[in-house]
Symmetry: C2
Subunit: 231 residues, 2 copies
């Protein structure tokens, strides 16, 4: 499945978050980025924009929250590109939102400073997906990127890449295979010496993967025998 990331940011070059996310996609073969820019007449080339989406199974809207919604350029793009009378081609595609916040996420809840949840504020996208019969992915929130530690950035990188590439509700097994694929890719680009070490790492990772899968099966069998289905 191919993914397209529609990037909507009025000052793209000034955004550290967006630079980081761009960097994170360069190695992903099945992910295309598309930065929104209007032409000289102030509009989008509707046909060209549609064409970009047609071969993609997953469409991601990526933007910073501006006044509790997407920046205007994304709304303009939606208003100009999508037509309710010609929507069959969008059916079954997945729609994901990658939203970056300047404020802590905890403000967006009952009793928080904003008092409204992001799921509430972004509900127009849910209605949009529903109307076009697209499947809405779980919200992907990036909270105050500039205050995050190096470790948090690394974790974000992995989660973001997986959000773009893995199926919704991916299994443990799929996640492990994804890591193995990434290791293989790095191996192919490495020197002969590094390749040997990476090969050992990959083999050990593969073995553990098998063992972990086995363990997971056993645990789930025990749970079933005990009549335990989780909370």
């Amino acid at each position: 499945m191919k993914t397209i990331v529609i990037v909507a940011h009025p000052q793209l070059e000034d955004s550290g978050t967006q630079r980081f996310l761009k960097e994170a996609t360069t190695s992903l073969k099945n992910v295309e980025r598309h930065e929104l820019n209007i032409n000289k007449k102030g509009h989008f080339d509707t046909a060209a924009e549609k064409e970009l989406l047609k071969r993609k199974g997953r469409i991601i809207f990526q933007f910073p929250l501006y006044w509790y919604s997407a920046p205007a350029i994304l709304k303009q793009w939606m208003d100009e590109v999508f037509d309710i009378t010609d929507a069959a081609w969008l059916q079954e595609k997945e729609l994901g939102l990658v939203v970056s916040l300047g404020q802590p996420l905890r403000e967006y809840r009952l009793g928080g400073r904003e008092g409204l949840s992001l799921s509430n504020l972004l509900s127009p996208f849910q209605a949009f997906a529903q109307r076009l019969k697209m499947q809405m992915m779980p919200l992907f929130i990036i909270e105050q990127f500039i205050y995050q530690t190096e470790e948090e950035h690394q974790e974000l990188l992995i989660k973001y890449q997986q959000f773009l590439e893995l199926p919704i509700d991916f299994s443990f097994d799929q996640c492990q295979s994804w890591f193995e694929d990434k290791l293989k890719e790095i191996m192919e680009k490495s020197s002969i010496e590094d390749r040997k070490n990476l090969k050992m790492l990959l083999d050990s990772f593969g073995e553990r993967h098998e063992q972990l899968n086995e363990l997971k099966r056993e645990v789930s069998l025990i749970r079933r025998e005990d009549g335990y289905y989780g909370e």
Copy 2:
């Protein structure tokens, strides 16, 4: 109190609803209309736009629902004109939304075709008003204008004018006085002959106003004596 109506519609000249609403404001002295248009560079003159709002106690955003939200031009205007670090001048102003729908209102509820309420979809405006310490007015919805009867249009005209001019939660008394003021205005513009008839109408209206006020007072007294405070 002065009111400004910010009109956001990408094809303003094609909209029967907007023509009707424009017509409805021509006689209102304390209501100014402002149709949003970007300049050649694709932006708004932030200082000029702010200046327009400064002397107004009530700001109305008037737009058709496009993909479950306002048209992009309104969002662009909001993104460019309002700045969270310079918001004190907006405090205490009232914010109202006049939203026209192409679909029946009944679709926007649990189990309706859209499954989400307008109060939910338009919640970014609530968060916006709250953050700027503005008072949000009750939503003003215009449902499928082109399918409305002549009588419904007349009713809409009155309700819309009152929404722009009367205080939020206006009393019966204020509403009656508003009608008297409108009659007086018509009188002033009429021929001498018509003026006589209108004068009679106005006198009779004024008498009834007094009687109705008296009646309302009595009813409320009776209710209080009965310990009845309504449902």
